[in-house]
């Protein structure tokens, strides 16, 4: 749900239900990396409410599009994390064929 003004689309607060710090903080991080964002932050209005408010103010682009791009970016990053992680695990298994009970920390 979006709260903003009709005339100015560059600043909006997005109220997302059934989400918490997990998503909001990650999105806030990605938004802060976007050069189009002038300000961004999030809050959980009440610990008993199951929702977060994400505030986005941009330098000119519609806030909604910027937020959507950020979510898209976060998804791409997640996919990359998953891919890299899987490769690392496969590689580890190949280097340690026994696969079980190997501790690199103890080896060193």
């Amino acid at each position: 749900m979006e709260h903003g003004s009709v005339t100015d689309s560059t600043a909006s607060t997005f109220s997302i239900v059934e989400e918490d710090h997990t998503l909001a903080n990650s999105v806030r991080f990605v938004l802060n990396q976007d050069p189009r964002v002038a300000f961004c932050g999030y809050s959980i209005p009440h610990p008993a409410d199951n929702k977060v408010n994400i505030r986005v103010q941009t330098t000119g682009d519609p806030a909604k599009d910027v937020l959507k791009d950020s979510l898209q970016d976060l998804m791409v990053m997640c996919q990359h994390v998953r891919g890299t992680f899987d490769t690392a695990v496969t590689q580890f298994r190949q280097n340690n064929p026994t696969g079980m009970n190997i501790d690199q920390n103890k080896k060193k």
Binding site: E2, F14, I16, E19, D20, H21, T22, L23, N25, S26, V27, R28, F29, N32, Q33, D34, P35, V37, K64, L67, K68, L71, Q72, D73, L74, M75, V76, M77, C78, Q79, H80, V81, R82, T84, F85, D86, T87, A88, V89, Q91, F92, R93, N96, G99, M100, N101, I102, D103, Q104, N105
Partner: protein
Amino acid sequence: MPKKGTKSRKGTDDEPKQEEKNKLPEHLEVQRTRVVCKGDAPTEGFQYAGAFAAMGIDNSVSADKFCKNFKVVVNRLTEDDMEFDMIGIDASMANAFRRILIAEVPTMAIEKVLMADNTSVIADEVLSHRLGLIPLDADPRLFEYISENDVPTERNTIVYKLHVSCKKGSPRLTVKSGDLEWLPEGSQLPLASPAQSGDKQKTYTSFSQSQKDILEKPLGVKFKDITIARLGPGQAIELEVHAVKGIGKVHAKWSPVATAWYRMLPEVVLREEIKDADAEMLVAKCPVNVFDIEDLGNGEKRAVVARPRACTLCRQCVMGPTGEVMGPTVEQVELRRVRDHFIFTIESTGALPPEMLFTEAVRILEEKCERVISELS
């Protein structure tokens, strides 16, 4: 051979240098990439993309840049626990994965206990709670969530029965989790007597087929040696339990991890050379043996940082036993952490192997993004 050497160097060192023609001055670079731990808690951070724009330096992390720099190194991988290094990721995302692992990756756990008989000293509700916490050896991805009005079927419920008794005159009996017996055909407790003698007896579940036919391996409990209760002579427990799919946010029994945590990579820097008596004092002070002594010959000794990974930032090295400064000081030994390097540990409770849990956690974050995107459009 020399060709090969130059090639590999280009791949690692030269490229980023060419990109960043304007390098940050050292003290700012340290501020940007490290957390320096002094007497008080560090608070500064540079998340804003344009933080160093005036100096011609781009502080942003685009998805492309992230994909280029992100690295994973597995340190330890066993059946139920793993440790790996995640390099080039922000704390907010590492924390999101940790939070999801603990609270949002689903597992199967006992939710309903149908008590037919309990003459043991342990009360029904306490016994039920103990049963709920037993880790089950069932892959949650093969099951569906059950909602309040759903009928328990072979797709959303696992049924176990526990039927133990201690004979009169025999010694006390310990009831272990291994005594739980899987019922692939569903509940055996009758719900009501059949209307006609030919009808199938109605039970608390309505399985249309045996779970043996839809699952590859038989279900059980992960550990067979968990004590559930103790029975004295003449006491008995007869009950049936229904396990369903859920997440740790609702109840900790559904949490797939014993715990999942990360720490930033510690970095210990000796800003001045520490010699002889001071060096020995430094080595002796560190409770986790971060430092070693290097012999310089001619009887001189020097402290070196040998195992920075072990550092817990306890600050003993720069503090005396009562807090006063003795020997090396904060000026001589700097304790830092690398801002984008996380040592991530996952301890699984057994339903899924740890590497699978992490993959699932990342997928859940993706699904969250997808949900919000579709809600916005």
